[in-house]
Symmetry: none
Subunit: 246 residues, 2 copies
């Protein structure tokens, strides 16, 4: 799926940016890099910035025109920071990534990024099917090309993950204490709070309710509840030793 | 809202990365940068990489410890590429950003990023409430620090934009305890645990770490922390009354 998605860089000036793009791509599972008339490539600076993603540079396709780079693509998405200039359907990165992940099952798709200084020109944008606009701080919307590619690749990766496992969950399956164990803990806690006069019979207040709310919200795991019970035991034993109950 | 969210960099080695982080932050509307013992700062390389975000470098706060950088924060999110090592609640960047945007209405929040080579150490992660894990290609998950900050800031920006839509107004306003208050609580707790022999000098074990992990995860509100401190006081006073310390 991800192997059907390519990143196309048009007339990149700084070879270091090509390396940074390769690294950003590989971080997110993409490996098809196309270069349209880069000023300098291959180049040591590109290799250096690519770090462990040098394989993407080795496999990169260098071509003379954008047309060549996108010839076999069924969907071409041009990126531009000029919002609404082109009258193409405008998408944000998240929306584009989700659509692309659907379509990449059946065909080739290109994300096209322009020159560092001036992006893609009107003719180039016109060859695209969609206009990707990366939303950013309007007072400083200056994403460099590697950053822009990074964000797009990240959204593609996220969409690919979501497509593979619709119920993606960050929940851990910690062995939480059972309700009955919590009830025993609350009894124990109350006993200690009375013995230490934290709760005074004439002024019961709502402190136990508040403590119960806190501990229930926080959901101690079994081992954590064991520690809390151990602390209460230690307090009782210390008091027993020093001043046995009548 | 965004002004209550800070990025904390711990012992950054390359000043260029500090500049790149500042740029990534400003792109996405963030401006609170804290530096814990950077190797070299201010530095020409940082300024150069920051480009138009030099103002963030000028305003950056340089401190000697992570504790200082997060003292007034109610939520501290540590980033680590070591998945599931720390037993903190694990979040992805999108989930973290959405929660943070809700909470930033009422208090200060920190995202903490570690050293280029080895990230945050265990003790540093233990002071955090949450563990942010940036999902990436498992065969090449090597995001550099500026890329990681970039992705997190991008998710924050997206969540902030979504939150400005009128329908989105479910905000929590629980006054959580501040980090510095939690630090005082841990000191107090340790004192009581030693006095009740729950912690024995010859067998320190990892119980304090486990307790810190539990309480950081559970995030007591100010009033709840007040109750917990009150319990510790009551235990100490009872012991004093019945068996004054020598």
């Amino acid at each position: 799926m991800l192997s059907n998605i390519r990143i196309v860089l048009v007339e990149t000036f700084h070879p270091g940016n090509i390396g940074a793009v390769a690294r950003a791509m590989k971080n997110m599972g993409l490996n098809q890099l196309w270069l349209v008339s880069p000023r300098a490539f291959p180049d040591d600076e590109a290799t250096s910035r690519a770090a462990g993603a040098k394989d993407l540079l080795d496999q990169a396709r260098c071509v003379d025109s954008l047309q060549e780079a996108i010839a076999d693509c069924q969907l071409v998405i041009g990126t531009s920071a000029r919002e609404r200039t082109f009258n193409l359907p405008l998408m944000d990165a998240e929306t584009a990534a989700k659509q692309v992940i659907q379509e990449a099952v059946s065909g080739e798709i290109a994300f096209v990024f322009g020159r560092e200084t001036m992006g893609l020109n009107n003719a180039e944008m016109l060859t695209c099917n969609r206009h990707l606009f990366i939303d950013a701080n309007p007072i400083y919307p200056v994403l460099n090309i590697a950053q822009a590619v990074q964000l797009v690749c990240y959204e593609i990766w996220k969409a690919a993950q979501a497509a593979q496992q619709p119920s993606f969950s960050t929940q851990e399956d910690a062995p939480y204490a059972r309700h009955a164990e919590m009830a025993l803990f609350y009894e124990h806690l109350e006993r200690v709070l009375r013995r230490t006069s934290f709760i005074i019979p004439q002024h019961e207040g709502r402190v136990l309710d508040k403590l119960q709310r806190y501990f229930n919200r926080s959901r101690p795991e079994k081992t954590e509840l064991g520690i809390l019970r151990g602390i209460l035991n230690a307090v009782e034993e210390t008091l027993d030793r020093e001043h046995p109950p009548q």
